[in-house]
Amino acid sequence: MSHIKEQDTPQALRVEALESILVEKGLLSADDIDEIVARYNERVGPLNGARLVARAWKDSSFRELLLRDGSAAIEPYQFEGGEVDKLVVVANTSDVHNVVVCTLCSCYPWAVLGLPPRWYKDPAYRSRIVREPRKVLHEMGLDLDEKIKIHVWDSSAEVRYMVLPMQPEGTEHYTEEKLIPLITRESMIGVSRL
């Protein structure tokens, strides 16, 4: 591993020191770290969630199961990443919009949405989305009609949430594979609509 010394911040130095101690103790290796980070970056991601959404749009019995028992619905997929022991999927409708937050820290359903985006972990998002969801969503580029009700779901150690967005009009005849690229991570967190 090479380092550019000039860019070493105290935080970086601390983590580097920790790594060297753990490597010395034989608890892990630098390659192990590279490997696990690559695993989370490439193999766990919002594409998993998009696959579920596309299938739910095409297959009403799967949709029903996904909304009734998210963990059971995704069990056969054997997604890597964890954090979905209790997955609750909430559906947007023309009258209801759902949005997900973790006010305590950054709980997030990794196996279906990958690692959380930066703004999801920001103190401002975590505290404000509960107090003034319509305003925060507006600031994030989503203007919701006043008559659409907003439900904010606060994740916890036990329960993780994912939003089932509404299928865009005019895509009813699309195959699942054609639908998947339309489904964004933001729509499954609930900060955008499709």
Binding site: V15, I21, L22, L28, V37, S106, A157, I180
Partner: protein, 117 residues
């Protein structure tokens, strides 16, 4: 038979990922994340246990920096709090104590530029 299993996660069909932001701002952020997950997978602790430490760190930061007073502040670093949480947990588990860590940091800090191996 699971529908959709034929899709390749690393194939061309990655738009939901393509619209993502950078998850890590610096290499050390991904490395501390990797270490925390690895030690958990090896059974040194449950993720729930780590989460308790992380919540405590985030909570401490939130209390010291109320949102109203720090709008747009530059000091918040999620992965710095994440590192602090991991370090406290490893100390509690007697895997790595803070004196050891401080000593190593001092040693690294006194390295001449370009000689950091």
């Amino acid at each position: 038979m699971v529908e959709g299993n034929s899709l390749d996660l690393t194939g061309n069909l990655a738009p939901p990922m393509a619209n993502g932001e950078l998850v890590f701002d610096a290499p050390w952020e991904s490395r501390v994340f990797g270490m925390a997950r690895l030690l958990c997978e090896q059974g040194f602790y449950d993720w729930d246990e780590f989460r308790e430490y992380l919540i405590a760190e985030v909570d401490r930061w939130d209390n010291e920096n109320p949102v109203e007073a720090t709008n747009g502040n530059q000091t918040y670093s999620y992965y710095n709090l994440f590192s602090s949480a991991l370090i406290r947990l490893l100390e509690e588990k007697q895997i790595c104590n803070s004196r050891e860590l401080m000593g190593r940091m001092d040693a690294f800090e006194s390295r001449p530029h370009g000689h950091d191996h």
